[in-house]
């Protein structure tokens, strides 16, 4: 292997092309680094911080850090998994994530990554925010209780669909997903079931109507195999439709 074009991830040699990030190269080599706001079809974002890895004593997000020859990158270590676990727990208490009552359970990336990093309880005090459900669209429903602000729908609608259906509004803990339409409702927006933005949500926030339980619980994407084997929700869209 040409060492001039590779770095080491937990001791494993990972080749890379110039311009690739640590995440790009790891995924291409079949090495899993847990992540939520990253989707290879879209520009790296770096907001969820779940993909943090240690390089030279510092934590950096693998999805935004450029790959460089000879780097020693630590990912699957107890302290990094503990950091990821705490970040996952923060996401869980920030919104209203009730897995047993969510139709996405078993095919949800938040849940699957939480299992992967060994998160067994939410740990922090729940915020229990009051958020709405928007069922105004004929084909899709948005449950804002489950939004994790990854901005995948924002970016997909803007960069892949050319529609700007979604945006992030507010600041700090009051940040929230909003919809571009006269009423602010999805039903009055340009959103369509065929949009890429309809198929990138990693959690149960943007869901197709009807057929919620066509795949029984227990036989869903991450019920069968861990996320480190099968990858993202978006990449499995066809199979994962639950």
């Amino acid at each position: 292997m040409n060492l001039a074009n590779s770095f080491r991830l937990d001791g494993r040699e990972i080749p890379f092309q110039p311009g690739q990030t640590l995440m790009d190269a790891a995924l291409a080599a079949g090495a899993y680094i847990p992540h939520l706001c990253h989707n290879p079809e879209l520009a790296p974002h770096g907001s969820c911080r779940v993909c943090v890895v240690r390089v030279g004593g510092r934590l950096v997000s693998a999805c935004t850090a450029p790959a460089a020859a000879g780097l020693e990158v630590a990912s699957d270590t107890p302290d990094i998994q503990a950091s990821r676990r705490a970040i996952l727990q923060m996401l869980f208490v920030e919104g209203n994530h009730i897995c047993p009552a969510c139709e996405k359970t078993g095919a949800c990336q938040l849940q699957a990554v939480a299992y992967y990093v060994g998160m067994l309880e939410p740990h922090f005090t729940h915020f229990f925010p009051r958020r709405d459900v928007d069922a105004s669209h004929p084909d899709y429903v948005i449950d804002f209780n489950r939004c994790i602000l990854c901005e995948l729908c924002v970016r997909a609608s803007r960069d892949l669909d050319g529609k700007h259906v979604f945006a992030i509004s507010g600041r700090g803990i009051d940040s929230r997903l909003v919809i571009e339409s006269p009423t602010g409702k999805l039903g009055d927006s340009a959103f369509a079931a065929t949009d890429r933005a309809a198929h990138v949500c990693p959690v149960g926030a943007i869901l197709p109507k009807r057929g919620a339980y066509s795949v029984p619980i227990g036989q869903r994407l991450y019920d069968r195999e861990p996320i480190s084997q099968v990858g993202d929700v978006a990449a499995n869209e066809g199979r994962a439709r639950s």
Binding site: I168, S169, G170, R171, G172, V178, P182
Partner: protein, 600 residues
């Protein structure tokens, strides 16, 4: 204020667009003007801006929601914001706020029924040397006393327009108590560019290199290197941006520099433009300093008349450069250079992904130099008097002097300039900070020093500082400070990344739990763990420094928290079962022992 009719608002916004421009970058500037005219941003204004600027409605509303000084619903005719820095609180701002809300019969954050007035709190307004302070419709009112508050109450009730309020209410003093190399005789220094033109851009950059000037915003990147990289980065256009968004609690020296030496700051920006090849510059002035806008605009127009700005500056063909002032609208995070650039482009101030750095891809994706006010002022002096002159002071890694904003429990709050390498104890002696129990250096995001550390020196080697220097006297309770900072960061986090967005709110709740006497040792360990995660995993400097104050209190002033812990309790749940019964007690009108849970 009566809600203005659609047509009036439409006319106003259309006029605004015609007067200032149709570029999407101007969105925030238009929103600020609309807010000022109507006390909110009416929906019809959003419609007009959206169609003319080609920006989606949701993005405009998102902008309104992001900035603390913009509102989607009407504020009062008098929009009163009390500065809520710890130094304001130490000077009695809370009692004054209560006096005013009582006098006016209004509750915090709620516009009075007749629409006359709204009273709220806001982050540090940069008047720490003359607080308590407030903003009324965006203009600074300083040196508040019970008497002044009483008078303000009368003026508001009588509906007296701000321009007829006593002029002394709006006086902002400079308070320069110690002038060093930069500040002494600064007025006498040439505001012109002759020396720069004699040297030429290459030699001028050489002087900056010889000076080893490092950025005065706190991070300390070498200024000459920044300018060189920007000059050498490919781009059809380059920009110079002066960061006058000094939002770090306790700092106000940029306010004084812009009030006293605006020509030197603009001169610094102009020679930067000459060196990197920029034709356009921006001064990003924090909204809290709007009172300075008319004078700064006047200085710019005078410099244009003098041939120091505009086309063919000083008769040099092709030396074209002009400066435009953009206002901020209440967002601490915009002090970070890439968030500032987002804000300059009229967007929410969210920090950009790096690389690329602004010197390579900044404003409008072009190479951009962003420097602090003080950095440009120092650069102007260095080009005038030479790099070796500047290098003559300071330490190995910290050349020159640093301008400090000193406030808190001191006899003489104000501006002090010292050579780098000066110990904290020397500053305390000079300003009259007798018996200080702690000094907060570099603001809320900085470091809390205990007396045993007062021999440490202000320098990049030891205590890098943006200039904020807040002194806590012997009788202060540091709990008040840490509560104030925790609230500040929870309010100012931009919300982009998880550890900062959620972590700051968790920290704030835990600090409040300690303050209420309900916490256990477990909660202190929680605070430390959350702080560690924020420091390591956050996306930008706001998140990585926001928990510093909690760590410093835990390490250096543990008694502040320890003496408030609930006795004999290893763990106290966040959920208070007895408090949760309050609603049931209120409904049933009971408050007997049987309506309360027994203490465990």
């Amino acid at each position: 204020m009566p809600l203005s009719s659609h047509d009036t608002v439409k006319r106003m916004v259309t006029g605004l667009l015609t007067a200032r421009g149709h570029e999407p970058d101007l969105l925030l500037q238009h929103l600020i003007a609309i807010q000022l005219a109507y006390s909110y941003v009416p929906e019809i204004a959003v419609e007009v801006l959206s169609s003319v600027l080609g920006v989606t409605r949701s993005r405009i509303r998102a902008c309104v929601d992001f900035y603390a000084f913009l509102h989607a619903r009407p504020r009062g005719d008098y929009d009163v914001l009390f500065s809520d820095n710890i130094t304001d609180r130490m000077a009695g701002s809370e009692a004054l706020r209560q006096q005013l809300t009582k006098r006016l019969g209004v509750r915090l954050d709620q516009t009075r029924g007749d629409g006359r007035v709204t009273v709220s709190l806001t982050s540090c307004t940069g008047m720490c040397d003359q607080g308590p302070a407030m903003l009324v419709n965006g203009l600074a009112v300083t040196a508040l006393t019970p008497k002044r508050i009483e008078r303000i109450g009368e003026l508001v009730e009588a509906g007296v327009p701000l321009e007829h309020w006593p002029a002394k209410f709006f006086v902002v003093e400079d308070h320069i108590h110690r002038a060093g190399d930069l500040l002494s005789n600064a007025e006498k220094m040439s505001a012109g560019l002759q020396r720069f033109l004699d040297l030429g851009p290459q030699a001028a950059l050489g002087e900056l290199e010889a000076s080893v000037l490092r950025g005065r915003g706190g991070a300390g990147f070498t200024t000459a290197l920044k300018w060189r990289i920007c000059r050498d980065s490919p781009g059809d256009e380059r920009f110079v941006v002066c960061n006058a968004d000094e939002g770090e609690p306790g700092t106000f020296k940029d306010r004084v520099l812009l009030a006293r030496y605006p020509d030197l700051v603009f001169k610094g920006m102009t020679l930067c433009a000459g060196i990197i090849g920029a034709r356009k510059g921006y001064l990003y002035l924090r909204g809290e300093y709007r009172h300075m806008l008319p004078r700064l605009e006047w200085v710019l127009s005078r410099r244009r008349e003098q041939g120091l700005l505009g086309w063919d500056i000083c008769g040099q063909p092709g030396f074209d450069f002009d400066i435009e002032i953009h206002l901020g609208a209440g967002a601490y995070v915009c002090g970070e250079e890439s968030a500032l650039i987002e804000s300059l482009e009229g967007k929410r101030g969210v920090v950009r992904k790096r690389p690329p750095y602004p010197v390579v891809s900044g404003f409008q994706g072009r190479p951009t130099v962003v420097n602090n006010v003080e950095t440009f002022l120092a650069a102007a002096r260095i080009v005038e008097w030479g790099g070796h002159w500047f290098r003559g002071e300071g330490t190995q890694q910290s050349a020159g002097s640093k301008i400090l904003s000193v406030s808190g429990d001191v006899a003489r709050p104000g501006i002090y300039e010292y050579p780098f390498g000066t110990p904290v104890s020397r500053v305390l002696e000079d300003c009259g900070g007798t018996g200080a129990q702690a000094v907060q250096v570099s603001g809320a995001a900085g470091v809390t020093l205990a007396p045993s550390e007062f021999s440490r020196t202000l320098s990049f080697e030891d205590l890098p500082t943006s200039g904020s220097f807040m002194v806590l006297g012997p009788d202060r309770d540091l709990m008040d400070m840490t509560r104030n900072f925790a609230r500040f960061f929870a309010h100012e986090s931009c919300g982009f990344c998880t550890p900062c967005r959620v972590g700051n709110r968790l920290l704030e709740a835990l600090v409040e739990k300690v303050a209420a006497g309900k916490a256990s040792a477990y909660d202190l360990e929680e605070m430390r763990q959350i702080g560690n995660l924020m420091r390591q995993a956050s996306y930008c400097g706001l998140g990585t420094t926001a928990a510093n104050h909690v760590r410093d209190i835990l390490d250096k002033f543990p008694d502040t928290f320890q003496r408030r812990l609930r006795p004999g309790s290893d763990f106290t749940p966040a959920f208070d079962l007895d408090a949760a019964l309050a609603a049931a007690r209120a409904i049933t009108g009971r408050n007997d022992a049987g309506a309360h849970l027994e203490e465990a």
